[in-house]
Amino acid sequence: METALNELPLAIFTTLAPLGAGAFVVLAIAVCSLKLEAGQLKAIDRLSLIPAGAVAAGFVASFFHLASPLHAPSVFMGIGHSPLSNEIAVGMVFFVAMAVYVLLGMFGKLSLSVRKPFSLVVAVLALIFVVFTGLAYMMPTIPSWNSPLVPLEMLGMALFGGTLIGLFVLALAGAIDGRAAHMVKSLAFILGFSGFVAAAVALVGHVDMLGELWSPAVAGATLAEPVVPYLCGAGLCGVVAVACLGVVCFGKRTLAPAAVGSAVALVGTFLVRFAFYAMQMSIGL
């Protein structure tokens, strides 16, 4: 577990940034498919600071992982060959697009004709960023991470937790209370539940994969043992969050379950990420 403690800033980064990014997918769906009133749009724009703030906080946390953050501009030199450079480059593109979108919205500078395509662009960039965040951990010399299940895990958690955060923003803005929002809530449920299933399947497969791994330093099964309590906790959080998602999408109340679901999804994702760093196993020493 020492590895996981050392990577705490990264665990925070890979929890907050992907979930915050995932929220913009649901917000894009809402903006593109709902007939929102001016007041609701204004509220959504203002409240978009919640997921945007989560993304920003995630990036700030990632800096605490660096021993020399002032040299950070050099990371772009590795674009193309370093998965970390690729992740940061894609992350920066998403972050700038997201920040411009949120700021323009807050200052009332987004017409509906611009808002719809712009929100979709931000949503697509968010998903690309999430996938690249997962890809950054795929290295042939770390067999316990070198699996497509890792980016799938990341994408699933971002869609699941992000959907709940997005619904929380929409509920706070009073945008999903009426019957007109039924389609958006149905789409959000499909998106969020698909994310949950993808994350759960990827996580089970990932942990199962550990059992077959072995190195002279540690056996994969030994590595998996200490993370079991964290993964059980994450599983519990996942079940509660799915229930919340169901209530938000098909029940009568939206705000409270969306708030609880978002918080629980964040906790569950953090537990998964913490366990992930504890599952680092080199192919050699």
Binding site: A67, S68, S74, M77, S82, P83, T141, P216, S282
Partner: protein, 206 residues
């Protein structure tokens, strides 16, 4: 360009760790750091058979490892800033302290557990093959200190004649990064893909 390489003679090494401590002394490293480490690989079992005879498959051997200045360094491939680089003249892999952000990606990627992030210094640290000694016509300090002459250092063509490219346990298969480490295996040595042995001094080396 002359690619430099290490040679490790496992038939001579006694596991005394003089190489490790000579390096620590020369590089002025603290108690928690070592650029060269001696891994003890051991395994097997001792059993009494049906005839009452004691039979053993036990083995144990030390392997002295630092950075292997690989032909295809995993650390360099993942380094986001290009701080981890290979010298054009000597092929030695070292860290450009002015570029390194201390992200630890090199540490994660290296299958030889070589680079580490020194948060006080603000960058990754590792064996640089004693580049300054090399330019003065001397061998790395670990090589010079070895009382059993189990270590050697020189152009890859010469070191290649002394042993096979490192593929003994607990090292990973050489085809992964093509380490410039050539090993003369001892009788106990297990191949890289063997699961018979494990590192028995993890607190010292991992």
């Amino acid at each position: 360009m002359t690619q430099y390489a290490f040679h490790f003679d496992a038939t001579r090494c006694t596991g005394c760790k003089t190489c490790e401590f000579a390096c620590k002394d020369y590089k002025d490293l603290d108690a928690d750091s070592a650029y060269r480490k001696v891994y003890e690989c051991a395994g097997g079992e001792t059993v009494r058979d049906a005839d009452g005879c004691i039979r053993t498959t036990c083995f144990s051997y030390p392997v002295s490892i630092s950075c292997n200045h690989c032909d295809s360094p995993a650390c360099m491939q993942v380094c986001p800033t290009g701080a981890m680089h290979k010298d054009d003249q000597s092929g030695l892999v070292s860290v450009d302290e002015g570029k390194c952000i201390g992200c630890g990606y090199c540490h994660m990627a290296c299958p030889y557990n070589s680079p580490k992030v020194d948060r006080e210094k603000g960058h990754s640290v590792k064996c640089d093959g004693c580049a300054e000694r090399l330019s003065a016509g001397e061998s790395p300090v670990c090589v010079e200190a070895c009382p059993a002459r189990a270590l050697a250092f020189g152009p890859v063509e010469e070191m290649g004649k002394l042993g096979e490219r490192a593929s003994i346990a607990p090292l990973p298969d050489a085809s992964l990064t093509y380490p410039n480490l050539f090993v003369k295996a001892c009788a106990d040595a297990q191949p890289s893909d063997s699961r018979a042995g494990k590192i028995v001094n993890p607190l010292e080396v991992l």
